[in-house]
Symmetry: C2
Subunit: 344 residues, 2 copies
C-alpha cells in the first residue's frame, strides 16, 4: 500500500540548544522511514505547519515548562495541517484534511485521537492554523474569558501586528469594544494596524509607548491583552482605569526565559485601582472552542475578519521562518507551506 | 443642653507633611469649639480610635489617592467609636455607642448618616474597630471574595502579626484552609504567630523568606494574601501552585508611596502558572458585611477567634501610637483609648 509514498520523510531536528538567541545552527534536517499506519493511526502528508513563539522555550532548556521540551538530536513538532493519505480510522477518510501536532516533517504518522478533521470549504487551510486555530483561539480566550471583555471597553493589545495580536484586535471590535489600540515595532507596522487590521490607533512602541498610549486613550484603558510583559505591562498598569483587567497571554510566554523576565515596576497600581491580572493558557479553555469556531468562521465568511499570514515555502526553510517570526519579521500568522494542497 | 460638656475639644492636626518617614513633628494638637448638634447630627464623646497604615498616604501628598488627603493645619480623621452624648436622631439614642469616621479628637459632631450603632454586649468596643471592624472585614473580603479561598487551601499571609494579617490567619483556618503560613519581622513575632494566633508556621522574613516559605509549603501555596508587596510578592509568585491566587490588600497600600513601590520580578510566573493577581479595596464589598459580622461575632463568642490589640492611652499619644504601628511596634490592631467607656 505504501508503494505510492516515499520510503522516508524529511524531519527537522534540534541540532543543539541555543545559547541565548536561537540561530540556524540549532536546526538540522534528518530522515526517518515512513511506516505503515497501525489501527488508530493515520499517515498524513503535511501541507502547512505553524511556527510558534512557544517553540523557543521548548528548544532552550531541559527545565520543565508547561509543555514538553525538545531533545537534542530529536525531531521538532508543532501544529500542522495535512492530507490523510493512508489509514483506516472511522471519521478520517483518505483525502480529508486534519489538524494535528506533528509538523516539522513532510509525512507524519499521527494518532487519530490527537487529530481533528478540518473543512477546507468552511475556511482556507491556512486559517485553520491561524485565526481559526490555536492562534485565534488564544486571542478569543484572552479577550472573552480571561479579560472579561465588555461592551464599550477601551482595549490595548501589545504585539498587535503578530498572529495573536492581529486576531485579538479584530475580535475585540466585533465583540463590542469601543476603542482598540495596538502597539507594534516601527512606524510601518503601526500604520498597518490602522489601515489593514481595524485598530483605531496603532502605536510605534519604539518611538514613545507611554506617551502614545496616553494620547490614544486619554481616559485610560479597561483591558490590556498582554503579549510581551516588560515595559508594555508597566505602561498598561498606569493607563488602566479602576477595576481594569490584564490578560497575560501564555502563548508567547516562552519567548522570554524565566530569568530574563524583567521586573515589573508600579505593580502597586494593581491595588490602588483594584486591577485583576490573570495569566492564561489556552488549553485550559477547550470548552469555548465550538463557540469560537462558529463565530470566527462566520466573521471570515462575511469578511468582517481579515486573516493575515506570512507564508514561507518549503520545509527546508522552516527554521528561517521561525527565526524571522521571533524578530518580528511576520505580519499575522507565520506559516510554512510544506507541500501542495493536492498532489496532482 | 451643652452645659455639661466642655466648650472646646482637642483635635490632632497635620502640622506639616512628612518628607520621607513621618515623625512627631508632623502632628500638632489644636482646639475647636463644641457646637450644638443640628438635626441629623450627633455629638459623640470618643472612646477608642484606630490608627491605620492608610493614614500615611493621606498625610504625604496632595496627590489624589483612593480617599481624601489631609490638609496642612487641618484635623486628621479616622475610624473611632464613641458614646452619643447629645443629638435627637431616631435609632441613635443618647448613651448608645457609634462607630464613625471622626477620630483624632475628644468630641466629634457626627452626621448620623455616616455612623453605625455598635452593640457592646455582642463584642467589646475595641473589637468593633478591629476584628469586627474595617480591619477584620478587610481580611475577610481578601480571603473570601478576592482570594476565593477554598477548602483545603494552603494560604500564605504577609505582615501576619499585624491587624489585618492576624485576623486573616485565624479566618483562613476557620474557613477551611488546610495550612496557614504567616510571615512577620523577627523571631519573637514569628513564634507568636504559631503560639498565639493559630498559624501553622510563622516565618521570620528577616532571616530567610524564600527558604522559609519553601520549607513551610514544600508543595506550594494556593493563595497569597499580600499586605506588603515587594520581595514577599516575588517569593509568593515562586511558591504559588498552578491556578494560584494573590489578593493584593488595599488597606495597607498607602504605606508605600507610588514611587517607592519596588519592581516585581518574575511576574512571568503568573502566565506560566495561570495565576490570578487581584487588588481590592474593602469599600467595594459592603454587601459582604452582614455575613462577615454574623460569622466573626459568633467566632468571638465561642472563642474560636482571638482578637489582639495594642492599646495606647490618651489622645495626646495618638501620634506616637500611629508612628509605632508604622514600624511594626504593634501586635494585632493598634488603637488609642481616648476616654473611659462611661463617664461616672
Amino acid at each position: 500500500m505504501l508503494d505510492t509514498f516515499p520510503a522516508t520523510t524529511r524531519v527537522v531536528c534540534l541540532a543543539s540548544r541555543p545559547a541565548g538567541e536561537p540561530g540556524p545552527e540549532n536546526f538540522g534536517i534528518g530522515h526517518q522511514p515512513i511506516t505503515e499506519p497501525v489501527p488508530g493511526q493515520l499517515l498524513v502528508r503535511n501541507v502547512y505547519m505553524s511556527v510558534d513563539p512557544a517553540m523557543r522555550g521548548r528548544m532552550e532548556t531541559t527545565e520543565k515548562h508547561y509543555t514538553t521540551n525538545f531533545e537534542v538530536g530529536g525531531p521538532l513538532d508543532g501544529s500542522a495541517i495535512g492530507e490523510v493519505v493512508a489509514g483506516d480510522v472511522d471519521g478520517f477518510p483518505v483525502g480529508c484534511y486534519v489538524r494535528h501536532r506533528l509538523g516539522w516533517r513532510d509525512y507524519a504518522l499521527v494518532d487519530a485521537a490527537t487529530a481533528t478533521v478540518v473543512d477546507p470549504d468552511l475556511a482556507p487551510l491556512p486559517d485553520w492554523l491561524g485565526i481559526l486555530g490555536q492562534t485565534g483561539f488564544t486571542a478569543y480566550v484572552g479577550l472573552v474569558r480571561t479579560g472579561g471583555l465588555r461592551e464599550g471597553d477601551t482595549v490595548f493589545i501589545s504585539a498587535a501586528a503578530g498572529a495573536v495580536g492581529s486576531a485579538a484586535g479584530q475580535f475585540a471590535k466585533l465583540l463590542g469594544a469601543e476603542r482598540v489600540i495596538g502597539s507594534a515595532g516601527g512606524a510601518r507596522k503601526a500604520e498597518l494596524l490602522e489601515s489593514q487590521l481595524g485598530f483605531d490607533v496603532g502605536i510605534d512602541y519604539r518611538a514613545d509607548l507611554p506617551g502614545g498610549l496616553a494620547a490614544a486613550a486619554p481616559d485610560g484603558i479597561d483591558l490590556y491583552f498582554d503579549n510581551v510583559g516588560g515595559e508594555h505591562l508597566v505602561a498598561a498598569l498606569h493607563a488602566l482605569r479602576q477595576g481594569g483587567r490584564v490578560a497575560l497571554c501564555g502563548m508567547i510566554a516562552d519567548l522570554r526565559s524565566r530569568a530574563d523576565s524583567p521586573p515589573i515596576a508600579h505593580l502597586i497600581q494593581a491595588t490602588l485601582k483594584r486591577l485583576t491580572i490573570q495569566g492564561f493558557i489556552v488549553r485550559d479553555h477547550e470548552d469555548l472552542r465550538p463557540e469560537f469556531e462558529r463565530r470566527v468562521a462566520s466573521w471570515l465568511r462575511t469578511g468582517e475578519v481579515v486573516s493575515r499570514q506570512t507564508i514561507t515555502d518549503g520545509l527546508e526553510n522552516a527554521a528561517d521562518a521561525f527565526l524571522s517570526m521571533l524578530t518580528g519579521g511576520n505580519i499575522g500568522k507565520a506559516l510554512v507551506r510544506i507541500g501542495p494542497e493536492r498532489l496532482s
